[in-house]
């Protein structure tokens, strides 16, 4: 089930939130677990087995680690359990996500003819395998205590707000809230605000500009020009940000309504002045996962420059691969590896000498070009699109470009503004002033009215069946 659907908004969500608060406290985790399993099963009932296996597997691993720790056998059996957990989780992920990719690559390299499995990728598998792995590693490291209650642990893994598109919530992030958590109407209202604004980001911004990208991507050379290819890239740039951060906002808001505080996932990434900064602001929970569980264990920057660069290579190779089983995703990861290394070596120091406008332009150009690599999941199409992007074989401008640029100009301005902190800041200071001069709850009601307007507009778009893709089926 996706959040941006009438079934979720008008049936699943109200039913779950009302029943949740009607449940006695000690049954709430069980109820959330069952609701989450239903949520997951809605899309693909049979794959629920994999998620349940992953849950029970790492629950046992956690308990075993605790047992061996107590017995003083952490370094022997404990390590074995840890290895089993990592290998187990990665094997599940590899089998479902990468088998066909590996076989296709082998077939094309060696001319062999291995039959492909043709498995549909279980939704959210990349998120929950990373989450359960982080749990076992953290227990091994002694950073969190093992969870004894299987229902609580299952609820953490399957928790529907963050199940299918993140953020990647590490167990340590919400360990204190798994068994008991504070809830209040204040938190529920704040969560509702956040959820509705996230819904608006997804439905009103991402979907609308996504339709343009979808159209431009499907055009043939006869209709294309360089400026249209740019507009396409810009469209996808906005689509992926508002879609993904909208999903994260919805997850965050839903989490709050149940009393959880998920980690933030995006912080105005397109306002970055360098690629290094971009990655500190984009999909922050994935970045910190890789830093915590791959980069630092590999030695990070503590073992000299050459080793650090090798480590970065590994991290970005896998970051790319994590986003999808395709060469373009690997290419996309390595593209950022090169940029980040260059920035580390000298570029960042040089950049700081230039005016900030230039720094923004520099970062944005590379980010947008990166999204072209990300979006074209067919390598031959990618190279063709890159040619158009650089004006090879097409005119710089054509009438279609003129038409699309002019009819989307106002919307692009809205998207650009919404990508910055400006609207949030302006609104916050306005609301503060209003509260001060009128009455205390005026600001709250204004914000609520705005959120409800966003809800109504989003519902209009959803009911009318306008373009509403799910972008994370390859994650």
């Amino acid at each position: 089930m996706v959040f941006s659907s009438i079934v979720f908004l008008c049936i699943f969500f109200p039913a779950v939130i009302l029943l949740y608060y009607l449940c006695p406290r000690q049954l709430r985790n069980l109820f959330l677990l069952l609701a989450s399993l239903f949520f997951y099963a809605w899309g693909e009932p049979k794959y629920i087995v994999i998620m349940l296996f992953s849950t029970i597997f790492d629950y046992c691993n956690g308990r075993l680690l605790e047992y061996f720790e107590a017995k003083g056998k952490k370094d022997t059996f404990g390590r074995l359990v840890l290895a089993a957990s990592v290998i187990g989780n990665l094997s599940i992920l590899c089998f479902f996500k990468y088998t066909d990719f590996i076989l296709t690559t082998l077939n094309s390299l060696s001319g062999s003819e291995f039959a492909l499995l043709g498995l549909a990728l279980p939704i959210g598998i990349s998120f929950y395998t990373f989450q359960t792995m982080s749990y076992t590693i953290d227990v091994y490291r002694g950073q969190v205590a093992a969870q004894h209650n299987l229902i609580s642990f299952g609820m953490y893994v399957c928790l529907f707000p963050q199940l299918i598109a993140g953020p990647i919530v590490r167990y340590s992030d919400i360990a204190g809230e798994v068994d008991t958590r504070e809830t209040s109407f204040r938190l529920c209202a704040a969560g509702m605000h956040r959820f509705l604004l996230g819904l608006g980001k997804k439905v009103l911004l991402a979907n609308q500009i996504g339709a343009l990208w979808d159209e431009i991507y499907s055009l043939g050379a006869s209709d294309l020009s360089m400026s249209l290819a740019w507009l396409g890239a810009l469209s996808f740039t906005f689509q992926i940000y508002f879609d993904f951060s909208g999903y994260s906002d919805m997850a965050f808001g839903l989490g709050e309504m149940f009393g959880f505080h998920f980690p933030e996932n995006f912080c105005y990434p397109y306002t970055a002045k360098s690629i290094t900064e971009f990655w500190r602001r984009w999909h922050m929970t994935l970045g910190s996962w890789f830093r915590e569980y791959l980069y630092i264990p590999l030695g990070g920057n503590r073992k000299g420059r050459p080793r650090q660069i090798a480590n970065l290579f590994v991290v970005w190779f896998f970051t790319g691969l994590w986003h999808g089983a395709g060469w373009n995703f690997i290419l996309w990861g390595l593209y950022f590896f090169v940029l980040l290394v260059l920035e580390k070596l000298f570029l960042l120091r040089q950049l700081n000498r230039f005016p900030s406008v230039f720094q923004h332009l520099y970062a944005l150009s590379w980010i947008i070009l990166g999204w072209v690599i990300f979006a074209c999941d067919d390598i031959s199409k990618l190279f063709q699109y890159l040619k158009w992007f650089f004006g090879i074989g097409v005119a710089p401008v054509n009438q279609l470009a003129l038409y699309e640029w002019t009819t989307h100009a106002a919307f692009l301005v809205i998207l650009a503004l919404a990508s910055t902190e400006l609207p949030a800041k302006v609104c916050a200071s306005l609301l503060e002033r209003i509260s001060a001069s009128l009455w205390q709850s005026a600001a709250f009601w204004l914000k609520s009215a705005w959120c409800l307007l966003v809800l109504l507009l989003s519902m209009a778009m959803l009911v009318s069946g306008s373009y509403n893709p799910f972008l994370y089926f390859r994650f």
Binding site: M1, S5, I6, V7, L9, C10, I11, F13, P14, A15, I17, L18, A41, W42, G43, E44, P45, K46, S184, F185, R186, C188, A189, M192, L196, L204, Q208, S218, L219, G220, S222, D223, M257, Q399, L400, L402, Y403, T406, T407, H408, A409, A410, F411, I414, S441, F444, W445, S448, L452, L455, L457, M459, A460, M461, L462, V463, S464, G465, S466
Partner: protein
């Protein structure tokens, strides 16, 4: 709960209840099976069942049904259109919003396959070589290519002129009838296309009929002899259905009411009227011609002064020109290749038409995937 928390509760609970009520109404209200506005059958919600859940058909039914059965769906759709137009979009879902309330189909070069276009032309030429019948090809210009000044600024359509230029290069035995000049001549004085539909009007069809007569050296009957009459003033066509809008105005629907008496055989069903008047009360008002599109329609005109037979291989655009042809032919056979699956060769043998006319809207012809059937 202290007083300070109360307004949080009010907002949160109101929102949840609003959503819940919307959800309950999906099931509580009677199910709509058909949307007049969109001219399509709606998905109705089926009772949940475990086996449907396992094979995900229940989920699909719920997902589609929730949208289709939503309270005031038509109104929400209009809001969605208004919102998109408010931010400057000039096209939604493959439809342009033109000037003066005109909708246009948005067909770009990329949507047409050059190979299919060339292939269809060649099939047409081969047909003319194979059979002993005078073959004509009459492509109807796409609405947007004719009413160019009513398109939104900078709007792009496929390059129809290029296609028109290619026609005589491939067709040698087939007579190519270019009706653009006569239509352009009357572009400003008559309404040639419906505003809310992609079809041409009775006026455009009549003008085309006169052009046809001119080429064949016959004298066209005047439009008045057909007693044209406005049968509906509230026609909303299929383009409107794709992007319904608050400010769209309906079209007047004129029909040539007085047509020669005839016996019709519509895919085996006998009737004596080319009009299915009941369709005027449905959303598919264009279906008033013959009740829609069928594989084979035979029209035998009673007391006809002509002895000629016309084979008309066509799309829906031809429906509105047939009433005029009935003055000049004793037997008209209309074939719609989408629905006609018998060999055309036996039809040719059986009916031996003196004349064969291929009448398609240009982009329909270029995209037609059934054209291979003409050589079967």
């Amino acid at each position: 709960m202290n007083k300070k928390q109360r307004f949080y509760a009010v907002f949160f609970l109101t929102t949840v209840l609003f959503l819940a009520v919307c959800g309950i109404l999906l099931f509580a209200l009677p199910q709509r099976t058909y949307s007049e506005n969109e001219n399509r059958y709606l998905t109705t919600l089926k009772p949940p069942s475990f086996s449907d859940f396992l094979d995900t058909s229940m989920q699909k039914n719920f997902t589609d049904g929730a949208n289709d059965q939503f309270l005031c769906r038509d109104l929400w759709m209009k809001f969605a259109t208004a919102l998109q137009r408010a931010v400057g979009f000039q096209d939604i879902g493959g439809v342009y919003f033109g000037k003066e309330g005109y909708y246009f189909e948005r067909i770009l070069d990329s949507h047409l396959s050059d190979k299919r276009w060339q292939n269809n032309l060649q099939l047409l030429e081969q047909f003319a070589e194979t059979y002993h019948t005078a073959v004509s090809f009459l492509p109807v210009p796409s609405k947007g290519n004719l009413l160019t000044d009513l398109l939104p600024a900078n709007a792009v359509l496929y390059h129809a002129n290029k296609l028109y230029e290619e026609i005589p290069q491939t067709l040698h035995r087939t007579a190519f009838l270019d009706v653009r000049p006569v239509l352009l001549e009357y572009k400003n004085s008559r309404q040639l296309y419906f505003k809310t539909d992609h079809h041409w009007t009775m006026d455009a069809a009549y003008l085309t009929y006169t052009a046809w007569c001119k080429v064949h050296g016959t004298k066209p009957a005047s439009l008045e002899t057909f007693a044209p009459d406005c049968v509906r003033r509230d026609f909303f066509g299929t383009l409107y259905s794709k992007a319904p809008d608050f400010c769209s105005l309906p079209d007047d629907f004129y029909l040539p009411v007085q047509v020669p008496d005839a016996e019709l055989n519509i895919d085996g069903r006998q009737t004596d009227s080319i009009y299915d008047w009941q369709k005027l009360d449905s959303k598919d008002q264009y279906g008033v011609y013959f009740g829609g599109n069928f594989g084979r329609i035979d029209i035998r005109v009673k007391h006809s002064t002509s002895k000629k037979t016309l084979l008309l291989i066509k799309d829906s655009f031809a429906n509105s020109i047939v009433p005029f042809f009935m003055k000049d032919y004793q037997h008209i056979i209309m074939i719609d290749l989408r629905y006609y699956n018998k060999p055309l060769s036996s039809l040719m043998q059986e009916t031996a038409p003196e004349e064969t006319l291929f009448l398609y809207e240009l982009s329909n012809f270029a995209q037609d995937i059934n054209f291979f059937k003409i050589l079967k």
